[in-house]
């Protein structure tokens, strides 16, 4: 499996933004440790070397998850999971002076961060978050958001998200992102102060643009087409995989039924007794081996899901482009008609 994102942002040649971020970020060319090597599930390892500005400066990990109970905005009791984000900045080559920082964030804060990034960087394919609710589940897989396995897979997904943002040449310099990693209190207020919600485009407007744009850019229509197809093929794949997992689970678990009957049978046999007993035992072992196999496979499904959501991020960029194209066309039309009016006025006088 190829691990790198489609990287369409490189093709788009974004206009360099003024870095909002931390002044120190990416200035020194310190070759620090890369993101912990042990993080082998990270779908970005090894392929982000070119532009992992922050990864050279800071190691990021989401190391723990904790169940918490609190009160929400409506003052209702709610249970949620908080994730511990640990950052370690490597200031020197020898790595001696190490600054460690850690704080807790919940999923909704990650969502807020991403929504903010989407608005502020419309031309960038913003890395996706892990799924909000478990999708494409097969019957033995819990769809409960509090399920330990789900929380663990989400932890890995959130860590990947942070690593991907941190390795992006532009996103990594964002101040809000930096504060997300370093400032526990008041972060939400700071984000809301940016007024990013006001800048968000309405879906209706975007839909309008899709149908009315006159000269769509071929590169973008192709990209949009690709992302549509990618999305449909991956979701098909995930659906079938869930069914495959279901059936495979069935095949293994039915072997477990042998366990009991072999052991009961062994009770009435003399010479064969021991052999049958152990055959039964191994059938049991065989049946239970499927749990681990399918648990591992779930991580593979998660990576597929990441790209399913990446396809959506790709579409968001295309949509934004359409919108701008539409604005441009409208403005050009406006300008043309104004020019005409002006000429008419000039000749009419």
């Amino acid at each position: 499996m190829e691990q790198a994102p489609p990287d369409p942002e490189r093709r788009l040649q974004p206009a360099p933004l003024e870095p909002l971020g931390h002044p120190d970020a990416g200035v020194e060319s310190v070759v620090g440790e890369e993101a912990e090597g042990a993080r082998d599930e990270g779908p970005g390892d090894g392929t982000m070397t070119e532009n992992n500005f922050w990864l050279k400066k800071i190691e990021i990990s989401v190391s723990e998850a904790e169940k918490r109970t609190g009160r929400n905005a409506m003052n209702m009791q709610e249970t949620y999971t908080a994730y511990l984000i640990e950052t370690r900045s490597v200031e020197h080559i020898d790595g001696q002076s190490v600054l460690t920082d850690s704080l807790w964030r919940r999923y909704s804060e990650f969502e807020l961060l991403r929504n903010y990034l989407l608005v502020y960087y419309p031309h960038i394919v913003v890395p996706p978050l892990p799924e909000k609710r478990a999708e494409f589940v097969w019957h033995k897989l819990s769809a409960d958001n509090m399920d330990p396995d789900f929380v663990e897979r989400r932890r890995i997904g959130l860590e990947n998200f942070l690593l991907r943002v941190a390795s992006h040449p532009i996103l990594c310099r964002d101040k809000i992102f930096y504060l997300f990693l370093t400032q526990e209190g008041n972060w939400k207020e700071t984000v809301n102060e940016t007024g990013f919600q006001l800048k968000a485009d309405s879906r209706l407007k975007a839909l309008n643009a899709t149908f009315r744009v006159k000269n769509p850019d071929k590169r973008f229509t192709e990209l949009k087409h690709y992302s549509d197809e990618l999305q449909s093929v991956i979701s098909h794949l995930l659906r079938v995989r869930a069914r495959v997992a279901d059936r495979l689970y069935g095949v293994y678990k039915v072997h477990g039924n042998y366990g009991r009957v072999f052991s009961e049978w062994s009770a009435i046999e003399k010479e064969m007794g021991d052999g049958l007993q152990s055959a039964g035992h191994h059938m049991d072992v065989y049946a239970s081996s499927i749990d681990d196999i399918l648990e591992d496979e779930e991580h593979y499904a998660d990576q597929l899901k990441e790209y399913l959501f990446y396809a959506e991020a790709l579409r968001a960029v295309c949509r934004k482009h359409e919108l701008m194209q539409y604005d441009l066309e409208m403005a050009a039309q406006d300008l043309a008609s104004k020019k005409q009016q002006c000429e008419e006025l000039a000749t009419g006088c």
């Binding site: 499996m1 190829e2 079938v240 495959v244 039915v254 009957v261 064969m272 052999g275 152990s278 055959a279």
Partner: protein
């Protein structure tokens, strides 16, 4: 894990030293086992095989005949080799004849005659092949039996050009024997079954019950595997569809698709093997336990007859103190019956042990082969995936 189970299975039986746990050793174990099986091959003087099924379509009926080839050095056979064609009802005739003429012996079971119409195609290749194997097994079991293999009806079955002539001859006799059996069962209840035969009866009940459960589980597994196969067959091509969208990724995705295809084929083979090799043995032994039970019943009848006569004598004892000859004869009959039955039971236990050892070994072996094929399929695409990464 299947390997450990193999070793465990072997040690209590044959004391075969546990070899190194490598996939290769599994098949060699199986080979060794088959050699053990043939150990009395040198003393064998009668060889029978069933093969070459042929379909016959007549105006009245359609049926299958099988070729039965016999090679023997026994004096009972005029020629060293015979080849005849027989259909299922001829086998049925043979079995009935054996039951009649050797009531004290355990007659191997025939495969079930009746199949649910519409569900199983009686003339399909798989059905005919499964039945051929079962019929072959049936004749081999008779051949291996020290008494049954010398039965005159068996000889006729193997050698006669026209079996139907022999069939008609026996008709009158059949009805007479049937009557005498009925006469014996009339009224007399057995006082007590001797402990060892009671134990056999109990054993057979449990045995049949457990095998029935195993048979159901095995069928369920095959059903689950077939459903799994259906999903796999859909899963693979999705990767192909995806590869059509991609440039650099196309090749690895095609590779994954082909790999899943290979795994599906391996699974299909496994399912077929289980259907063809595993299920029939279970069925045969379930039927075997029925045959065994019916012999036990006959034994009980003989004992009942003897006890009845003994009682009658006891009543008249004062008049005639001497035990009449027919009661003594009856006692002899019962003792012969018991001896025959015990010997057959022991023989049956031995072949059962060997058959199930081979059955479970075969199952483990087939599973190992399946996983090896899947492993190979996945390993073969690793270079394809790695190359792409290095190219970057």
């Amino acid at each position: 894990m299947i390997l450990f189970f193999l070793q465990d299975l072997i040690l209590p039986n044959g004391g075969t030293p546990a070899g190194p746990a490598s996939p290769a050793s599994s098949s060699s174990l199986l080979n060794r086992l088959q050699l053990d099986d043939d150990i009395d091959g040198e003393t064998r003087d009668l060889f029978v095989t069933v093969d070459d099924p042929k379909k016959h379509v007549c105006t009245m009926e359609t049926y299958i005949t099988y070729r039965i080839t016999t090679k023997s050095t026994r004096v009972e056979f005029d020629l060293p080799e015979y080849s005849v064609r027989r259909r299922y009802q001829d086998f049925d005739w043979l079995r009935n004849k054996l039951e009649e003429s050797q009531p004290t012996h355990l007659i191997p079971p025939l495969p079930e005659k009746f199949v649910v119409k519409g569900v199983v195609d009686r003339f399909s290749e798989e059905f005919v092949e499964t039945r051929r194997k079962a019929l072959d097994k049936f004749l081999k079991r008779i051949t291996d039996h020290p008494v049954l293999s010398f039965n005159e009806h068996f000889n006729v079955f193997l050698t006669a050009k026209d079996l139907n002539a022999h069939k008609k001859q026996g008709m009158a006799l059949l009805t007479r024997v049937g009557e005498s059996v009925k006469h014996v069962t009339g009224g007399y209840k057995l006082r007590s079954r001797p402990l060892e035969f009671a134990a056999i009866g109990e054993y057979l009940d449990t045995f049949a019950l457990k095998l029935g459960t195993i048979d159901r589980i095995a069928q369920r597994i095959i059903k689950e595997e077939i459903e799994y196969l259906v999903e796999l067959r859909e899963y693979g091509p999705v990767y192909s569809t995806w590869s059509a969208l991609e440039g650099e990724l196309a090749e690895p995705l095609e590779g994954v698709s082909a790999c899943i295809g290979n795994c599906s084929t391996a699974l299909e083979e496994l399912t077929e093997d289980m259907t063809e090799d595993f299920l029939p043995v279970l069925r045969e032994y379930i039927l075997y336990s029925d045959s065994m039970k019916s012999v036990l019943k006959k034994r009980d009848q003989v004992q009942a007859e003897y006890e009845a006569k003994l009682e009658a004598v006891a009543l008249r004892k004062e008049e005639r103190p001497k035990v009449p000859a027919d009661v003594e004869k009856c006692q002899d009959r019962m003792e012969c019956f018991n001896a025959d039955l015990k010997a057959d039971m022991e023989r049956w236990q031995n072949s059962k042990r060997q058959d199930f050892r081979q059955l479970l070994m075969g199952m483990a072996d087939k599973n190992i082969q399946y996983y090896e094929k899947c492993l190979m399929a996945w390993e073969s695409i690793i270079p394809l995936l790695q190359e792409k990464q290095e190219a970057k």
